[in-house]
Symmetry: D2
Subunit: 348 residues, 4 copies
């Protein structure tokens, strides 16, 4: 496919001209807003792009063999970091650790968790207000009330917050309170939701579907990017396999694979990815060693009382040890081993 | 779990009394509207249900070991048929054949397809107006315009229509035109959408997720049933496997398995299920032989020109032969082999 | 690839000439014995096969795009039957039903089973003497003693027998007693065993590996064919899937798929394929409806006492009903629906 | 299950007495030779083991909930190392790196590879002489000639050698030359082969089957252990998944999972595990970070000319860089993070 990057100051007339030439060759151009200047995405015209590259207002013409042009590495060959919240960046050596309970269960629980993970050095607070549950009769989360409780935890601790959005109809009410939206594995191909998030200007964490291929995942991300929201972070959370001892099978090989295909940051969820508390630390170290830009970890003040996912949640002291072990490993790792870049650090 | 079926004429007071007794035993009752009288669903109380069974307004107390009480076979031990549209029933010996193109591409195409499948003996017209596409730059369907074209085809041919709904925000606009909603495999666990469809009174065809277990599928159906919409039909459309020659792996064993677990009708989609035109007929015959209540088949006036799924679509003459072969087989099959029930027939 | 079929009376000199010409073009010819005349298999030479077709002793030159030339449909475009034992053929309308216990447990058990399945109309007796068990401490079968007991059951009932072979070292001792060898799913790619069976002249039932693709399976069959043993029957026995209610997921779509790719007969094992007794009949009817050439069914005189696989075994009266239902369906099915061939019948 | 460990000097009479008491309770004892004294394995008797524990000659009675008693962690709660060859141990902080070509292709190739990997610091030389190929017409390896060439490479470089064994009939000829046998993924449940290897006294590397669960894998190892060969090393080599960009999906979560269940060492094959040269280093670092005891890596003097697996092979200079990166990471890792053990080092 083809991405035509326009100058920041390019005119509507310039864009129209590009689209016109594409159309002559049978390709429909699609305009995508971007802070550094509109992008026009289209199929690659057979007769080449030479004519387009020299048009007024055109900054760059990028051809890519991938089906996810805006998300492909060709769009940003060098590693860059992305802003998730004021003073919090991911990538380029900044390792983001998101931590908190599976579900927001009440005021005390989320505040206690927030204080605990903040003290241990986490970068963001996670917590589920809208819960995608297999069974309709299971606890479905506190909804907008849960979001408000997370906002309160943010106000107290200063931690940016991330929480899952399940429906288009919930976005508007969540927007004022949320630093980052999470899309769960089951909704990875909920295209209606992805399109709506593409129209927002809040970063999105897109979890991989339970049996999604990397190409399907990056095309799902492309739905958001194609709407003009260029802040998408990917999250590997384990795939469905035949193994019964673990909840899912964490597929760390997608970390270096995604990095070779895309400029989007990628983090790993070792909690859902394994379902076993004792595997959270070793798999986190492994994730960072093969290049992950961050982790999202379930931490609960009292895992045994958790309404969901207790067996995979760390308590707060264990999370403190966890952060220490992560910090001990980071100096041995580099943001880009090929170049002598600075070692990794936890983003805060 | 537990379902308390109330008399049709039972009073709010009666229901409140049931919930109160459940609550005393720590179980929250959930009221579900039903044409034959409200149902109250709850966890099974430890001290038994004897006290509840004798309360005024209570018709029946049903205990089930399944996590999908309303959809479980315990709710309707004998096989019954379900109305999909005026004069069109599924189940109880009525085999429903839904046929039509993958996508509504234009007025002529859908009308031609509708006339063709009507003449060949199909029960319903299928066609996609909102298309869930892996890639954001692929043809996304004609949307509400496509729905209107289907409605026109219905007006001309008399065939009831079924089409996919992808987002909560689209339901209202589709409701006046659609006889049956389809939920696609990718949205099987889009709980926001399932809840919204539970509030409608239009039948829903719920496709199985690409790697969903039967229990996950029946619990997804339960989301719709728990909203008070009791007309859910299941559709096996192939699971993801390692085989590369077929698009998916049609899992016919779920047909008798679902029938042993649930009273919901189940049909089979041999088109998506195999992705290969030549496998559509043998797999359809197999599906009916192991008890499927119907088929949903892709038929296109000119498969080679189809905007999507051409390789698995039958043309209209081939669909005519297909229907003949199906009709030849039906007399050898019985709605319930254990009892000497009448042989199957195509519903029209 | 390429198969050069030689005349039955062709000379060594003729074969050497073919190989020489192939070698000139960089292709190594491999000679495969065949009752109708040697076959020479090789990569397809770039410069074509014209020169070879006119050589003395060459009957036919067959080019195929498949990686399993001897097993490919191109070798035998018309449907033919294969002899499994004197007076017992499979294919061409002959449906073979193999029935018997999972394991030979003792003299009385196997004789009782043999008499029962014979009376009900089975074509062959199955029974495991060497048992591939996941755990080394589980019952491993009676070994050669079990084979001898099966031979005794054959002597009494006249039923040809089929049993699993697990190791090259066991073949010689089994050869005098066995009508057909079975290769289990776990050994589908035990190439050492396949090569040894290729040197035998006894038919082989090759079960599909638990997650094998059709191409891997047909290439495994090719190992046997390439050794000169041309009597290979394929058996679908269920693939590993994520479903927990069934033991495996029976993949019936491979039946018409294999038939389109290969001339080898294919049968279905609904017992291992589902693991549930109640699914054996519906899935058997489905298998025959989509073209299977036979069934292999577990039958035990007293399933509740079986040392293995009791939950999926039919007792003898149920197997009698099973055979009746199968016989009722067969007249509605045809060996080759495209041509008006005679209806199917059970081979005996 | 139950393991009764006998004293080294225990008498046959003592063992017979243990078996007798087990039998009284309906449990058959199975005697397994072990260098530190015979073990008797049996089902756990219902009436407990008190009577056995006090018998003469009994050192220890170990009960385990697992189906792989000899391989379970209960047999060796503390981490110990295992001897693979004189002066070469695995585990307990010794990281073993096995390196070499996929297939032995000729004298020069294997000698060049051996010298290269030796110079870079590898612990062992790998190379395939018997090759399990999907297609019977593909290069099948040099067989015993290839084994002899590996032995020559060992004589020159001093590197112990590991190579795959595919059939029971090949073991005897290989025994004098081989330091360690490899069992490939396709043969993980070739029980005939496992039993034969259980009778050898050469260490065995048991690769995980393509879709094997951890329990199936550990039970396969138990087949070897139950024969009296107690030196089994496990190797994760990627599972089959739906991802198409990688050859397999490397499942690193089994590393800490296996370590929690078993005392057997576990290594990782990032070459087959990913199929992509660029993923070998990051996944190797990840493997060691989550606790792997070693790596097995494909290295070829000229990957582009390799007869098999070129795309995943490192050339010799790249392998040199690879070893440097591994050595840089090791000091940050510990053999047992819970206790303050010494850091890891490469075994040589």
């Amino acid at each position: 496919m083809l991405v035509v990057r326009m100058e920041e100051r390019s005119l509507s007339l310039d864009m129209a001209r590009v689209c016109e030439i594409l159309e002559k060759q049978g390709c429909r151009g699609r305009m995508v807003p971007h802070p550094e200047g509109v992008c026009i995405v289209a199929e690659e015209p057979r007769e080449g792009t030479g004519e387009i590259a020299v048009l007024p207002g055109v900054r760059q013409v990028i051809c890519t063999g991938n089906s996810f042009p805006l998300g492909s590495r060709d769009m940003a060959p060098q590693k860059e970091s992305m802003e998730l919240a004021p003073n919090l960046r991911i990538g380029g050596g900044n390792v983001v650790v998101m931590a908190g309970p599976c579900a927001v269960e009440g005021r005390e629980q989320i505040l206690e968790a927030a204080r605990g993970v903040k003290a241990a050095g986490a970068s963001m607070l996670r917590g589920g207000a809208f819960k995608p549950r297999t069974n309709p009769y299971s606890f479905q989360g506190l909804g907008h009330e849960g979001v408000a409780l997370m906002a309160e935890a943010r106000a107290e601790t200063g931690l940016p917050i991330i929480t899952e959005v399940m429906g288009v109809e919930d976005i508007e009410g969540m927007l004022p309170h949320v630093d980052m939206f999470q899309v769960g594995a089951r909704n990875m191909q909920n295209f209606s939701l992805l399109k709506a998030l593409g129209r927002c200007r809040v970063p999105v964490l897109l979890k991989r579907g339970m049996t999604a291929t990397v190409d399907e995942w990056l095309q799902a991300a492309e739905y958001i990017l194609a709407g003009g929201n260029h802040r998408v972070v990917l999250c590997e959370r384990g795939i469905r396999s035949f193994e019964k001892r673990t909840r899912n099978t964490l597929d760390l090989s997608v970390v270096p694979l995604v990095k070779s295909l895309s400029h989007l940051p990628i983090i790993v969820d070792p909690s859902h990815g394994t379902g076993l508390r004792d595997l959270v630390l070793p798999m986190s170290l492994a994730a960072l060693s093969c290049g992950a830009d961050g982790l999202i970890v379930e931490v609960h003040p009292r895992p045994s009382e958790a309404l969901s996912d207790g067996a995979q949640s760390l308590d707060i002291p264990t999370f403190g040890d966890f952060m220490q072990r992560v910090e001990q490993l980071l100096p041995a790792l580099q943001a880009d081993p090929k170049e002598k870049t600075c070692p990794l650090k936890i983003a805060m």
